[in-house]
């Protein structure tokens, strides 16, 4: 029943991953993470001091025994910048896991497929566990799996847009073809979006903006937690197939029996 999510051999008993940006305060972030039940959180490295220190250290607010803390490379515009950020994480004492995100466009923060593939290859060679953030491109997803990425993280819609699964048809192909867990990342603005992703067969979802800017982030985290669980349970049971027309309860061919 309800098998857990396993990424690169690590068992996680929540399918809700949470980003730590955009919160009004670190204490609010901490409470929100607790309410979400998450076991894996991502942290932006660009705000860390290069000597590994920060006046108010976000890591002080994250219990490493409770969460797998995964640095992300947000802010990187090229493969080289992303690789440097990932190496920095190691010097800060974090695990060799990295959420790879490379977005040269600071407006929509859409991921650069060319640089992402390049960086993924470099990081896998350096024994990082790589979770790349990508557009919902099934071929790119396969290429990243081939170079050894631990998951693929296609977007539902642009970061922070709250528009849900606008890439649904492509996501379905990625999920169908996946040999690694598929995490739907970005654009999920409502618990129903998260439930929909899980019902489709996504292995997990990653949420940040929808929690961080909610009027009550803690309760919203709880709402997402329930939605992810409900969506996953429905997927495991198997949703009934959909029809475009009514199916008569008294079949027209009953006279043949």
């Amino acid at each position: 029943m309800n098998p857990s999510l396993v990424i690169a051999g690590k068992r996680l008993d929540s399918r809700l991953l949470v980003g730590t940006g955009k919160f009004g305060s670190l204490s609010l972030m901490k409470e929100t993470l607790e309410a979400s039940g998450t076991r894996l959180v991502t942290v932006a490295l660009r705000r860390a001091d290069l000597n590994g220190k920060r006046e108010v250290n976000i890591l002080d607010y994250l219990d490493a025994s409770r969460y797998l803390i995964m640095p992300n490379t947000s802010g990187a515009r090229t493969a080289e910048e992303a690789v440097r950020l990932a190496r920095l994480a190691v010097t800060m004492g974090l695990e060799k896991w990295v959420k790879l995100e490379i977005h040269p466009d600071p407006r929509y923060l859409l991921p650069d497929p060319v640089e992402t593939l390049k960086a993924a290859e470099m990081l896998v060679k350096e024994n990082f566990t790589v979770l790349p953030y990508i557009n919902a491109d099934p071929v790119l997803a396969k290429r990243l799996q081939e170079v050894g990425c631990a998951t693929v993280m296609p977007l539902g819609s642009p970061i922070g847009s709250n528009r849900g699964l606008e890439t649904r048809a492509q996501l379905a192909i990625i999920i169908e073809q996946a040999t690694v867990p598929v995490v739907i990342d970005a654009g999920l603005g409502a618990p129903s979006h998260a439930a929909e992703a899980m019902e489709m067969g996504a292995d997990a979802v990653l949420i940040n903006t929808a929690l961080a800017v909610a009027s009550d982030p803690v309760r919203m985290a709880h709402a997402f937690r329930k939605a992810v669980e409900a969506g996953r349970e429905a997927y495991e049971i198997g949703l009934p197939s959909r029809h475009t027309r009514a199916i008569a309860t008294s079949p027209l061919t009953g006279f043949l029996e």
Partner: protein, 373 residues
Amino acid sequence: MAFSNYFCSETWRESEVHRRFKELLLPKTPQELENLAQQARQLTWQNFGKTMRLFAPLYLSNECVNACEYCGFSRDNESIVRVTLSPEQVETEARYLVNEGFRSLLLVAGEHPKFVSQSYLRECLDRLHVFVPSLSLEIGPMETADYLSLVKAGAEGLVVYQETYDREIYAELHTAGPKKDFDWRLNCAERAYEAGFKRLGIGALFGLADWRVEALALAAHVDYLLKHCWKSFLTVSLPRLRPAAGEFAPLTRLDDRDLPQLICALRLTFPQIGLVLSTREPQRLRDGLIPLGITHMSAGSHTEPGGYTGAGQEKAHHTVRGKAMPVIASEGEHKPATEQFAIADARSPKEVAQRLQEMGYDPVWKDWDQRLN
């Protein structure tokens, strides 16, 4: 097509962005303005979260070869006290600001090929970039090749305000010096982008032309840069004229009630750009404007070289027709350099950060590290 050509062609007045922005600038009832503010806040939260990036200006020099009617540093203001900090003194000021918490500094200087030369700027950047994660420049416009060497030396952002997009008013106010060339300044952001600056800042100085007309041209510039300079993060500033040496009286007004509307209009039209608010505005107004779309704030600012630590005072002088003249002061006393304009919010960086926290915003001192590039 460079922006100056596009701007001249007037085709921007036919764009959808122009139409929508113009509508947002029409006079609004208090209820309509409140509705705009609610939407602007939501969009800002969505794109930037409940965070505020903090930075400080660091003035290198107040020497200037331009004659600009409204500016305290104008070469015609012969009575002001002028100073150009040595790179060592710039470092002293920067270390003070880092100690105050800042990790993002804006280096500001008047336009002067001799005092604020390429090699001088490179030397300042070389000294600073090893301990300041993000350095931006607000200096006289340059050629792409010159910008390139500053990017290589560690500069991340470039800020150039057009002052006014009205060609005629511009010509009346800029009577001498290289700044007279309207188009050269107008295309500055694109040259900076070609050179690889990661952040571009533009703006208009409000108080020169009619604010709505000014804002429409500024929005056309934003729209153009977002399309053509797509890899750079764009910020917009909306400085209003402040009292300064020369006693220039504003020609027009952007009222306290209109400034919020302008901020909301920009936010609703361009949800992902940065909007900068300086200490030109008083505390009460600044606090009120924070939720409407502001993403970057300065705090505890000084607008004169050496303003934070008193560095460079021994070199204080007047510049009269290009020649340095001694400052008459009592014996053993140094006169500080003259500020570019008077600031209105005198709170310390810590006080501003604390106020942000009270308002539910996380003050962000550092957002990127240029050394990772």
